[in-house]
């Protein structure tokens, strides 16, 4: 226990002197990095615009209210498209992620030397590229529209679902698999009866969780032309139709809240 001696009386301290200096050093380093980065950003900022922001914000809020409720009639279809992009994209991701996850998990991979690094690279590659950037690429290949959005969401979600799923596979209880093996089961039977029942709840939870995230992400895919309500948002902003923008934002808010509630209810019902 680290103590400090004050006139011979030991007094408790939280850290030893060396540790305390180490903590201070880390704080100093962190602060220095932050200040340096901040200065670089500050150099690139036109501060006159920033000080002007409250006026701009008041002006914008003025122009955005009241929301143009009549525009709602034109939003149902994009909203349905947004829902489809998220749901079908999640389904696509699940289909692709299951084999990737089994290849990436240390205890089920066919080859730890060749297949596993490849699966891990797929996971990292898919995760590091945002769905908006996937959409940007896919719109060029597939043309603008909902389909590009579905594929973009799917490709982005593969990494997420596969990563969580392979971690779940690695954490299974090996005793059950051993017991199934002892009955004379072959490879696929081992997976179907020994592994799948153990990861099924986690799998369902991950899928619903990702669906919830995808609803949120699919609302902006339209900004690059990949369908959904983002198209309307982009068009309204470009034409400075601010009352439409505020209605779209309200619709997005409502959708996100509902999807979060649905996902929480489903996960609660399963666990």
């Amino acid at each position: 226990m680290p103590v400090r001696h004050d006139k011979g009386i030991p007094i408790w301290r939280r850290r030893t002197t060396a540790r305390q200096w180490g903590v201070w050093g880390l704080w100093l380093l962190g602060t220095a990095i932050f200040v340096y980065c901040w200065q670089l950003i500050s150099d690139k900022t036109i501060w006159m615009f920033v000080w002007d922001a409250p006026t701009q914000a008041a002006d914008l809020a003025n122009r955005m209210s009241p929301p143009k409720w009549g525009y709602m009639a034109e939003l149902w279809r994009p909203l349905w498209d947004t829902l489809n992009i998220a749901t079908l994209g999640t389904l696509l991701a699940i289909l692709l992620a299951v084999p990737v996850a089994f290849c990436a998990a240390r205890n089920t991979t066919p080859s730890a030397l060749l297949v596993r690094p490849l699966a891990l690279f797929i996971i990292v590659g898919s995760r590091s590229i945002n769905s908006l950037i996937w959409a940007l690429m896919l719109v060029t290949i597939l043309g603008p529209g909902v389909f590009a959005g579905v594929i973009a969401i799917g490709l982005r979600s593969v990494g997420f679902v596969a990563k969580l799923l392979y971690e779940a596979i690695e954490e299974i209880d090996p005793g059950q698999v051993e017991a199934i093996t002892a009955t004379g089961a072959n490879g696929p039977q081992r997976v179907a009866y020994g592994i799948v029942p153990q990861i099924l709840p986690a799998f369902a939870g991950i899928s619903v969780f990702r669906w919830d995230i995808n609803i949120r992400e699919s609302t902006v895919l339209g900004l690059v032309g990949a369908g959904g309500i983002g198209l309307q948002l982009d068009a309204s902003i470009s034409t400075l139709a601010w009352t439409q923008v505020s209605l779209i934002l309200l619709v997005i808010l409502a959708t996100v809240v509902v999807s979060e509630w649905v996902s929480a209810t489903i996960r609660h019902a399963m666990i």
Binding site: R14, G30, I33, F34, C37, W38, L40, I41, S42, K44, T45, I46, F49, V50, A53, Q56, A57, L60, W80, D81, N84, T87, L88, V124, G125, R127, S128, I129, N130, L132, I133, L136, M137, T140, I141, L142, G143, G145, V146, F147, V150, Y193, P197, L200, A204, R216, E217, T219, V220, L223, V224, L233, I237, L249, I252, L253, V256, V257
Partner: protein, 267 residues
């Protein structure tokens, strides 16, 4: 073994045990899928046309060209990194009071509701939408992106911090309180040690998320590598775009590996 047992075969228990619910969900899913695919409007003609073009497109990604746009790529990446660091730091700093306020076992009811409201608002909109508005208000450049990422960080970090505080072991706080500690001492010696390992891990994770998001706020004018990437796409310089994407993947991988080390070191 009698004939009676031979006809009685074991069946795997279903995920949803109630058969009525199970069938309702399957049929509902089927109907939904039929409708969804019906309105998907896949233009197969366009797709067929697009496939060879897609092939050419993919081919033009290779080999990635790091050289000819090296200056602007480096500029963009650095700007993204500054935005990532500053927004994570500021976001986490703001998250600490908000997260403390949003923990039910710590804050009085009105403060709890206020802080939960802040978290909910910060979480709702994707960073890109926030960035659109911050660009309108604060002008083009990394400052708008920095603000968007900071708000996103608050929504993410304050929520998880509050949940972590709500889940903490209540015994040490009570013991520290019994020694006559002040509120700040109590926070420093009883609450903080319980949540800090996970919180450092989450901060590093958020750093990783912010870097990835910094690549998209640029698409709407928020500074960072996204602007460079969009320019590369708009000019059909796909080899430069491929180089940017590879750099993003490499940095994300590096952050992910180092975050693993940090987490092991903290715990």
């Amino acid at each position: 073994m009698s004939a009676a047992t031979a006809t009685r075969a074991w069946k795997r228990p279903a995920l949803i045990s109630n058969p009525r619910w199970r069938w309702a969900i399957w049929i509902g899913a089927g109907v939904y899928l039929a409708f969804a695919f019906g309105t998907l409007e896949i233009n197969w003609g366009r797709l067929q046309e697009g496939l060879p073009r897609g092939q050419r497109f993919l081919a033009s990604f290779f080999p990635p060209d790091f050289g000819s746009r090296a200056d602007s790529i480096l500029d963009g990446i650095l700007e993204s990194l500054w935005m990532t660091v500053t927004s994570t730091v500021i976001g986490v700093l703001i998250s600490i009071p908000v997260g403390l306020g949003a923990a039910r076992n710590l804050a009085p009811r009105p403060i709890y509701l206020l802080c939960r409201g802040v978290v909910a608002i910060a979480r709702t909109f994707p960073e890109v939408i926030l960035a659109i508005f911050f660009v309108k208000l604060f002008g083009f450049g990394p400052f708008a992106g920095f603000l968007a990422l900071s708000v996103g960080t608050v929504g993410f970090y304050a929520k998880l911090l509050a949940e972590d505080i709500e889940d903490m072991d209540p015994v040490p706080p009570e013991a520290v309180l019994a020694t006559g500690a002040s509120w700040f001492q109590w926070l420093n010696y009883a609450v903080q040690p319980q949540v800090i390992p996970r919180m450092i891990g989450l901060a590093v994770y958020r750093l990783d998320i912010n870097f990835r998001e910094s690549a998209v706020v640029g698409i709407v004018g928020g500074g960072g590598i996204g602007a460079t990437l969009l320019t590369a796409f708009d000019r059909y310089e796909f080899d430069s775009a491929a180089a940017i994407l590879l750099i993003i993947i490499a940095i994300v991988m590096a952050v992910e590996y180092s975050s693993g080390f940090v987490r092991r070191w903290v715990q």
